[in-house]
Symmetry: C2
Subunit: 237 residues, 2 copies
Amino acid sequence: MSTINPNPVPTETDEGVRRAPAVQGAVRLSQPLVETIEEEILTRQLKPGTRLDETELAQRFAVSRTPIREALIQLASAGLVELRPRRGALVAQVSPQRLMEMFDVMAELEAHCGRLAARRGTPEEQQALQAAHAECALAAEGDDPDRYFYLNERFHQALYRMSHNGFLTEQVLHLQRRLRPYRRLQLRVRQRVAHSFAEHQAIVEAVLAGDEVRAEAQLRNHIRIQGERFSDLVASL
Amino acid sequence: MSTINPNPVPTETDEGVRRAPAVQGAVRLSQPLVETIEEEILTRQLKPGTRLDETELAQRFAVSRTPIREALIQLASAGLVELRPRRGALVAQVSPQRLMEMFDVMAELEAHCGRLAARRGTPEEQQALQAAHAECALAAEGDDPDRYFYLNERFHQALYRMSHNGFLTEQVLHLQRRLRPYRRLQLRVRQRVAHSFAEHQAIVEAVLAGDEVRAEAQLRNHIRIQGERFSDLVASL
DNA sequence: GTCAAACATCTTGTATACAGGACTTGAGCA
DNA sequence: TGCTCAAGTCCTGTATACAAGATGTTTGAC
């Protein structure tokens, strides 16, 4: 019987789900379930097309089918799971074309973040952006793709916040998370880390200079490159 | 945007939700519930902040609490309902600032649709766009704001499809629906229908001419005006 | 040997039971 | 009179029971 993995994201689910059926502990059982299953889908431990049997999951997490069903519904709403009425749940298949469509939308949203960040960023946010950029520099020089990948996300998140548009930030964060496994492939490509960092440099300069047009263009291009690289990758298969 | 397949057949909800508990008709009871409650929230029959009591809803729709809970979870994922653990569900409050943020994102997504439509629209799609535009003309001349509102949505949807980006289309459709009650307020403003139609004219010309830059700019402006008007409306209160 | 229909089994969707947290109300106290 | 605390009630979250659709298998006919 497997328990729920400790989460990298700081949450207040202080304890695991290892509980006797009648004991009430966490506020909602389905929440950690959503996070765990989502993580496993995004990390490809659960592969697209995999059947998600409710009873099996219920046994695995030592809860009843009720919170499992609620978790699956939430995952379906996020697009990670396909729910076929009366026929069970599958890990959603994401076609290469759809991925490219998602990268396309991501590029536009990030570009808009860049424009707004250049226009609205406060001095503190500008400093935070530079700090995030400096951290990326260390990882890039140290030739540590995994660490760069993580810091790269932090860099972009600093930009999202600078947009001062909470809704936009939520949307683009969601897409960032959704596309993570595919973006991760990119950095394995030769020289990609170095190129990415150079692009960041141009972005930082444009944003700090308050150059909305350039910030927008640089970011659009920065994201779009990933979509194109991904497309090359797919085409080569 | 949810990947829950409601039905093998893309049919309307055959009728209301009033059914005897034991009658098996729809594939899932929660689906029509989601649609009904969503409709009532979007039409303001259920006002922001209203408590959504599970037992009460269960009685009203003559089902058990189980499908009600599943519906509420889906609505919460769509942002229409706020779920407070152990403390019940509320119709989500949308602050004026958040609405403006949503209009801002909407403007960018529609603008991108416009650009792609100008680049990729097929002759059939161009014809469909013109046809939708012509229908709007009739409603505008006839001074029928409600009908114009409906046809206006069809016009925009024709543009979304022209983008040939399914993910983008889903996202922007979702936002169109979400913002509907607030957009509806716009057309009551004096001369707004006439202005809107004039803007459509410019959009159609740009898209048909394949002028990506102009199509994008016209659409961004067309949507942004609504956000600004809304902001004026809020400020005047 | 192939196909189809009927049956058995599995799994989902819904109803209901039950436990525990949250809100309400009223009494005691300052 | 106002505040605090406690008991009672209500409602949510979870488990479980049950019904019916979906799937797989076996058997029978051609």
